[in-house]
Symmetry: C2
Subunit: 309 residues, 2 copies
């Protein structure tokens, strides 16, 4: 079995070593420009089109992340019919839950306000928000969204969710489809975005949708920068419609010097760290899925190219 | 039944109204200097000695908080044999859990560092700590400490606890007594203090004990300012032994202008807000306990004056 590896921004050596240990029978190689020798599987993060175009005999492409937008952008360069498999969780669920729980608690308990007070030497009491109306609306109810809901549930926040197709989750008021979006927005004091990036979800966080939230709401985006119309957010923060935003992802990354977000105190910026791909968990998952595919079984995490995730 | 009320810093009117609604047969009054007319119960927060001294016929004193250090300081002014009852939880457990979970996640995921980077316009990746060695040690395993352990447990942090007398909690490595303190400290990367303030626990967070933590540890104090020797913490932060501290309580509150903590970026200051007494929950609890006492039953939360909590 031949496995081709290419991951932007990653040192390939430890990945190859771990994959080799998990799949002793495999022949592993790092893809380099011009390599069109046969391969059974590709393990990739943001691969160039040339790596996959016209590649015959490929049995599967494993994406080293939950979001497959970068790979689907290759379009016709992706060999037709080859299964694309995303990571289901691989340690990302708990990381997302940590990030979102921290951000929600920070706003709910006004730790952002206490931080500003500390910097000016002020000791001033402030009540938490009213928890009954501090509802958390999760955009995207896949593995990550469900893990976030489970983490927030013990704290007693009212929970809502929205997904493309109807879901039924205990303790979460579930809305679905474009018909269900307005009701979801009207009832969400905090919106958490963990949607996949598709044609339908690009720009879903915009002046129109964010204006339907209750006045003084909060936004947490841990999905993709392209979900948010950035100039719209700046305007809504200035009007007070949005009270604060915690953003891990941006249209351009690294966020360029001079971008207005750097100067907006109501925006909290993190450098795309909400959930990093963990090598150990990912390798175990890929090895197990290759084993299932070789044995002719289905694997979870198969991407629907038309749906976009 | 006559109930005497006195609570520093609280507006008595809504308390009296809620107590009256919960105990329709009671005669309620706010204590004023010179009032030594009979009373069956006292509901108090930081009462003056004159309110309780030589008071005959009192059947119980209800403390509007979990910590009873302020009332026990009255010493001989407390009528002998009168039960002193603290609030068991009354909404404080979940608030403590929110505060500590926020503070732990903030350090674990390095959000303090990202905040500093944002202020200087830097986009720089930083890994979380290694979770297997990011152990959380909880000093005090009563209602509040147990609630904190339960909130942290789903995130997978190794949990330790220390209490005066041995306890056995699932998923928490429990240590007890002075003999167990060193082993607890040596294994705790984050120390969370929720101890009651007694003669034995005053100053328990000092140069000697905090030096036994792993290098680069974190301190979260949501109990009482007197647990911490403040000058020792400043020195340990400067040496790097302690990497950061989140403090909700101080020896003098409000924290005075000019106190060195205001100028120490590795200290996060909140104005004693970790858990506020919630009127609705507290009134329900006090009314239920008075009902039990009138019927001759035991009540939970009875204070042992010798033990100090």
């Amino acid at each position: 079995m031949r496995i081709l590896f290419h991951a932007v921004d990653a040192n390939p050596a430890p990945w190859l070593a771990d994959l080799q240990a998990a799949l002793p029978q495999a022949q592993l190689r790092v893809w380099e420009a011009g390599d069109d020798a046969p391969a059974d599987y590709a393990v990739v993060w943001k691969p160039p089109a040339e790596m996959l175009r016209d590649r015959v005999g490929l049995k599967g492409v494993f994406n080293l992340g939950a979001g497959v937008d970068a790979i689907l952008q290759l379009g016709d360069a992706l060999p037709a019919g080859v299964p694309i498999v995303r990571l289901d969780d691989a340690g990302m669920g708990v990381q997302m839950a940590e990030y979102v729980t921290w951000a929600v608690l920070r706003y709910f308990r006004r730790f952002d306000q206490f931080d500003a007070q500390q910097k000016s030497g002020q000791w001033r009491f402030a009540k938490p928000h009213d928890k009954r109306s501090f509802s958390i609306g999760i955009l995207g109810l896949g593995v990550l969204g469900q893990r976030i809901a489970a983490a927030l549930s013990p704290f007693g926040f009212p929970l809502l969710g929205w997904s493309r197709t109807p879901k039924d989750l205990p303790g979460v008021a579930c809305h679905a489809g474009s018909a269900g979006l307005d009701a979801f927005l009207a009832a969400s004091r905090v919106v958490v975005c963990v949607l996949p990036l598709t044609g339908e979800t690009t720009g879903i966080l915009n002046r129109d949708t964010l204006s339907k939230l209750p006045h003084g709401s909060y936004l947490i985006n841990v999905a993709r920068g392209m979900h948010l119309v950035e100039a719209d957010l700046t305007a809504l923060l200035q009007s007070g419609q949005i009270a604060g935003a915690t953003l891990d992802v941006f249209r351009q990354e690294p966020l360029p010097a001079g971008h207005p977000f750097w100067q907006e105190p109501r925006i909290t910026i993190t450098p795309h760290i909400a959930a990093v791909t963990l090598r150990g968990d990912s390798v175990r998952q890929i090895a197990a899925k290759i084993g299932r595919m070789e044995a002719g079984h289905d694997v979870p995490g198969l991407v629907d190219r038309t749906r976009g995730y």
